[in-house]
Symmetry: C2
Subunit: 201 residues, 2 copies
DNA sequence: CTGTATATGATACCCAGGTATCATTATTGG
DNA sequence: CCAATAATGATACCTGGGTATCATATACAG
């Protein structure tokens, strides 16, 4: 029947435009019109693919969430198994620090969403608790194994260690975003933390 | 000449109204009209005391900042000097966790501002770097003294310890706000961290 | 008292932005 | 090649919200 554009592809383009706007000008600057302009298309097109703004925003959030999950999974899969536990943990956590520009964009937008979710009942807050919970569980698992291998002292509690590791990392992440820490300084703190978690032989 | 209302007092009322709105409905819900309604006054009155919305918002930010500073100062002053260093540190950090309702309100609004400042050049980002910097310096000072007293092992770096202590606390704070941690759970993690910083005798 | 500066109220203007409507342009199966 | 459907464009409507204007009330100095 009609000419066929790739719907999924179109939506991705629009969501990418939204993310760029949100990262550059803030989530409050995301409007149907600004997204259209950023994507170089007409307002009507945005309406065509996303009936309402709420749908657009939710789609973008789900997109970021999926993207995040898949990156974490890749981080884990990329690591060959027999490598040093500390290296695995360090690589794993690097994903949570907004070091390069794409990562910075991602974290800026994600954080904006999280803050929105604090007060907006329409925006599901679940991703912001489920995501970290999942990461923490994976981390705890890694730490438990490292402890079994004797790389972490026996008197440490892997579950709590995972929790505070995530907290340190998250704290450093937002600190970078806000311009208080350089990525390098943040990584130094993180390394210090890991030095104490994995005592040198 | 005219009847005199207490300007400063009026402004405080309006700012308090703004904070309530921001904490309840989000910073995006803060409008001249919503603040007026929340304060139970007319829109015109808000305009009278704050010519523009930007002024109102900036005033509120400064108010929160001042309030924060003074609470931290009180935290420090309240502690008698000869007490256990760990107790001082713990009390100090308790201020950074949104445990009770007023504190939660404060942190919610403060965080909203911080996220805004990430992308809004008009909103000074300085408070969000100066504030923590100052706290970190004070913390480092406390830790140095504790180390001199032998309460903290000599191989620790007080400056970095202060940094990550702040990061853990900040991470826990936002985690509470987002509903991922209960205040109790957060405090447990913090205690665990302090247990390792101040090894038991 | 009374005028004058202060304080408050009512309301209007105007733009931005979400949504809706109508039209027009492709594309492709028959 | 044509009709039907998908895709895109132009534009209008309406509300919310920042700002501006005009009017009124209040209090105190002289």
């Amino acid at each position: 029947m009609p000419r066929t554009a790739d719907h999924a592809e179109r939506r991705s383009q629009l969501i990418a435009a939204l993310v760029r706007v949100a990262a550059r000008d803030g989530l409050h600057a995301v409007t149907m019109r600004s997204v259209a302009a950023e994507a170089g298309v007409s307002l009507r097109l945005v309406q065509y693919y996303f009936d309402t703004k709420a749908q657009l925003v939710h789609a973008a959030l789900r997109h970021l969430e999926a993207q995040s999950n898949q990156r974490w999974a890749a981080r884990l899969a990329d690591q060959p198994d027999p490598v040093e536990p500390r290296v695995v943990v360090e690589a794993f956590l690097a994903e949570a620090l907004p070091t390069d520009e794409p990562s910075r964009v991602f974290h800026t937008v994600w954080t904006s969403y999280a803050v929105l979710a604090m007060t907006d009942p329409d925006l599901a807050a679940q991703p912001f608790v489920d995501g970290p919970n999942h990461l923490e569980a994976q981390l705890a698992q890694l730490l438990r194994r490292a402890q079994d291998q004797g790389r972490i002292p026996a008197d440490r509690n892997p579950a709590i260690e995972a929790a505070r590791l995530l907290m340190v990392t998250h704290g450093l992440g937002t600190s970078i975003l806000v311009g208080r820490h350089t990525p390098d300084a943040a990584q130094a703190v993180l390394r210090y933390h890991l030095d104490r978690l994995f005592p040198p032989a």
